[in-house]
Symmetry: C2
Subunit: 167 residues, 2 copies
DNA sequence: ATAAAATAGTTAGCTATTATAACTATAGTC
DNA sequence: GACTATAGTTATAATAGCTAACTATTTTAT
């Protein structure tokens, strides 16, 4: 199984330090997944830093925003909207409920499902957080112009919502 | 602590089903982190599907590509290049070594560091994988034109490498 | 109307990712 | 030679994404 040997004689290898820390021109720079991960890593780091005092993670923030926009949204609907699997939605809503930010209400029509609502403090918090998130994004993308930021959002949306029309 | 109450009377909530599965016009659509995650999720899913028969994960692929481009690269240099923390690089290279795709060679000049090289089978594999990755990206972004794909890569690169110049 | 199939939510378990802290060995500096 | 810094490693921990299995309900088919 391990019949293959090394590609370069290790004896004559002494220039490791010369390697650049940024990989210009490497095939990797053409890989969309790589670029998306690097960009997301940076944007999320800024986000987490901005939310640190509120102890809110990206998925919690997204949930709060969706619940605010669609009060009474069911867990399955939330899962689909955020591309989060059902088990994770459970723990997500649990944490929001424990912190008094949201609550489940059993649905009368279909007693299998639960509508989710924000509490007063949940509503107050999400209003505050939206401003912080906005500022965080701007900081993380200082190197982009406002036009470029719009372009980027449009292109990304086209990937995950293929039916998206240009603005 | 739990003084706040719900935002809507749950008694009159019976329209959950009417909620859209795609959230158009919601504040969330303006959040860069959200869009990045959704897009990355889709691109990575395609990638993992394309690599399934080879049992190669995104981070392993990136590592192979960098090692191929810079044979003898040290683990710390690899960590910095890929924005992966050192402990993870260890397990990453361990797995590549166990599979006979790469190997560590202790550096003579600085005996603390290890140069990483591809084996013959590692070289053969990465050549094969690069084609698969390319096709996977195209499939995942069918809704984008070639120009838009280039724009997207450029914009993303501007975020994580702020010094990047336009093409 | 009853049996079968589908759905909403939940619990449990696995792997991977990101992040720390602490430790060993080596190298560089005062 | 003592102090400091660096490369790699080990060990934890929290989170994320995925799958299977189970309960309670609803819908569909017979």
């Amino acid at each position: 199984m391990t019949t293959s040997k090394r590609t370069s004689p290790p004896e004559q290898t002494a220039l490791e330090e010369a390697y650049p820390t940024t990989v210009e021109g490497l095939v990797l720079e053409e890989r969309l997944g790589y670029a998306l991960r690097r960009a997301q890593l940076k944007v999320f780091k800024h986000f987490n830093e901005a939310m640190r005092e509120h102890d809110i993670r990206p998925a919690q923030f997204s949930s709060l925003v969706v619940i605010e926009g669609y009060p009474g949204v069911t867990q399955s609907s939330l899962a689909q909207t955020l591309s989060i699997d059902p088990p994770r939605v459970v723990s997500l809503i649990n944490s929001l409920e424990e912190r008094g930010l949201a609550l489940r209400v059993r649905c009368k029509r279909d007693r299998r499902s639960h509508g989710i609502f924000l509490t007063k403090s949940g509503e107050a918090l999400v209003e505050r957080l939206k401003g912080l998130a906005e500022r965080s994004d701007l900081e993380a993308t200082q190197s982009l112009s406002e036009i470029e930021r719009r372009q980027l959002l449009t292109l990304l949306r086209k990937i995950y919502v293929p039916e998206t029309q240009d603005d």
